[in-house]
């Protein structure tokens, strides 16, 4: 009896010891410890689709966003609980959190509906991107997208943010003006200078190349070879077109039009060129062209007249 009593005593002590150890080691108990259920969603898109730069102002780039939705289940109790929720409607909310000021991002649908299923659900929507003309060429563009799922009963909610990167393309746009007009009336000995004011209407630092298309025979026309304009709408630069009409001896009444071609290119990559623009100027050269020593010639002529008069007198006297 005593023996049995001792055995019972030892068993109680060991039981208490084991129970104490177990309670000390086992994590704090909670309701979700065995019945955890959680939604998860991720968003992906084709990396190649965002690599190609988006042309500002005109292009509407449409990107397909692929969504994956599933419900994560833990131990057996949670799997049993999950069975109760199967077929329940799930609303996945998509929203654009942040975009640059020069970008407009629109989602085809802000909410995508699916159902709770043991299999992962593959879904898709379309994101439309449009960039303004002031978007920096080849600069960083991004759209922060948030995908969230609210709590559905025992299934926990979920949300995550994704950043979609893209880049705007170069938009070569220039505006040329002739502040002093596009016509000039000069003498054959004069030189006409036309300042050409160029404004950068594009979205990157732009180098403008100038070329004279048609230089008439005996005329001289030269132009500034290139100017570089800063990025930013309306940044200006001035190039100079210099024209010299023919100055051969005699009376001149020449009229010529000269065409200057301007080609914009991205300053960092001169092969990235835009369409050329032209400016036409008309120069009228009218007047008498002397070899330049007219003053000397005048004095000489005067002397010649005096000499002739004297000779005539002498002849008369004789």
């Amino acid at each position: 009896m005593t023996k049995n009593f001792k055995t019972v005593e030892a068993s109680i002590v060991m039981g208490i010891l084991l129970a104490s150890v177990f309670t000390a080691i086992v994590p704090t108990t909670s309701a979700g410890i065995l019945v955890n259920l959680s939604s998860y969603v991720d968003v992906s898109w084709g990396g190649n689709e965002t690599t190609k730069p988006i042309v500002p102002r005109g292009e509407m780039r449409q990107l397909t966003l692929n969504l994956r939705y599933g419900v994560n289940r833990g131990a057996l109790p949670s799997q049993l609980l999950f069975m109760l929720y199967q077929g329940r409607q799930v609303n996945i909310k998509l929203e654009t959190l942040e975009t640059p000021t020069w970008c407009t991002a629109t989602l085809k649908s802000g909410t995508i509906t699916t159902v709770v299923s043991s299999e992962e659900k593959e879904l898709s929507t379309v994101l439309t991107l449009r960039v303004d003309e002031n978007a920096p060429a080849f600069g960083a563009g991004y759209v922060k997208i948030k995908a969230s799922v609210y709590k559905i009963g025992a299934i926990d909610g979920y949300s995550q943010e994704f950043t979609l990167e893209f880049t705007p393309a170069y938009l070569p746009m220039i505006n040329a003006q002739l502040p002093d007009g596009n016509t000039k009336n000069i003498g054959p000995m004069d030189t006409a200078v036309f300042p050409i004011e160029i404004s950068n209407m594009g979205n990157a630092r732009t180098t403008v190349f100038f070329k004279i298309e048609n230089v008439p025979k005996d005329w001289i026309a030269v132009v500034t070879d290139e100017i570089t304009l800063d990025e930013g709408k309306g940044s200006k630069g001035i190039a100079y077109l210099t024209i010299k009409p023919p100055k051969g001896f005699g009376y001149h009444y020449d009229e010529q039009s000269i065409i200057v071609t301007m080609t914009p290119a991205r300053a960092e990559d001169l092969t990235n060129q835009g369409e050329s623009k032209t400016v036409t100027v008309i120069v009228e050269s009218r007047g008498f062209s002397t070899p330049g020593f007219e003053s000397v010639l005048f004095i000489g002529a005067l002397l010649a007249v005096v000499v002739l008069l004297m000779m005539a007198r002498r002849i008369k006297k004789k």
């Binding site: 998860y40 599933g70 289940r73 920096p136 100079y240 210099t242």
Partner: protein, 514 residues
Amino acid sequence: MGGTAIKHKKSILAIIVVFFLLLSTPNQIISAKAIDQEDMKNVGDISGNTTSSGGSLRYFLGKILAFIIPINQFLAMAAKAQPEVIDIGYGENVTIDVGLMDVETGEFDTRGVPFFLNARSINFEVLEYPGGNADGSWLVSFDPPVIRPKNGEEIKSQLTISLTAPSNPKNAIKSGILKIKLKDTQAYGNLWFPPELPLFQRLLWSTSAIFTMRFGKYSGTVDTEERIIEILVRVKPYHTVRFEATPLIKLNPGEIASIPISLQNLGNYNDTYGFRVVSDYKGIKISNPVSVTLKPGERKDTLLGVAVSPNVLDMGTLYTVRIETYSIDQSNVTIAQRTVFLETRGLYVSELGWAGVLLFCVIIIFAVAFFLHRHRKISIKFHKKPEKPWDIPEKKEYLEELRKEDRKKYNTVLDEMRKEYRSSILSYNSSRKAMLKEARKIKTKESEKEKQQTPDIKKTKEIKTKESKPELPQKEEKRKSVIEKSAEMEKQRREQAILKIKKAQEKQRRKFGK
């Protein structure tokens, strides 16, 4: 019952002791495996030394145990970039790989979705750009942007880094660290009792999930773990400069001018620029502009020296001078060029020339003055201008008397005097002209005579020497005779005029006497 408990007392105590020993084992294993490749190498080096600290011993113990007991490494993960250091320039793209690393091999992880996970996805986000990205110069894109790992496939994405020049050149981009955040989203499955493991390992796993690591509570949850990847980005020097366009510059022949040429550093580092002038004109001499050092975005002027050759007369010549610039770091590469247009036009007279012109003018003035002076002297000498009759004292008295006595008579007399004066002036002028004519005739005759003389110089000289003495008086006589003749004529005219006046006076007296 109690007897069996006493019987197995020793074995129960042994189990308890082993249990407590095992409590610390997984921690040892995890700590041993949670080190990266570099650490493993270091440990490997250390392990060669038998006298090393307990760290290496613990490492090897952990490694052996990990081989025997497949303990899941929840925290033993790392991210990496390959390569970790890149060089990039303005307008360039660089592609590298980023992803999760297998800490044992140091390579990209290929384990995909472990047995304890229901789903897994990895996406990326840029945390920090080198020097910031206010201008949007950095563009970082990932392909694929979101990884859904699969077993046997490397968990990595291609990272493309693009760099464009900043809109404001003062915000130059230099080397720095690109920090990327890797977000690993894991949906944990049944962590209490994973069915994929063999029974013994499952028991150990459960023990760990319940007692030691206590990770069982994460069953059915979704967790996101973040890793930071640091990439050292070296931005290559970008040499470029902007020239301001210069309008047509007009210069005179002989002029020396310094033409300011404005330039701005559009590169990303402090740069020193040298210049080359391309011009093969002979009419102008050009000196190379002085080299300048500019900070990024800084603007300065340098001077192009031009000396125009002193052509006497330039009708307007147009010159195009091309200036090429280069960075002293790459003197053989022209980074920008500008054409300067010059026009030379005008008349050039040197200081010596001006002195000559002045001297010539002075000589002319003197010659004219001398001629006039001489002419006047001669005319004074040989011809006296007739005096005004009313200024002769006798006549003046007479006129005074008349004015007092008879006013009408006075007027008529004065009128006649004036007429007389006019006629005398006319005769004076005609005689003067006649005299000049005669003088010219004499001169022409003399010259003709000289011409008619024999060509033999010696003879002419002899003749001249012989005839020179007697000829002189003849000439003088001739001149004298001419002068006397004219004087006589003058006298005659005067007398005639006086007679006329007297006759007129008598007529008047008679009239008034009647």
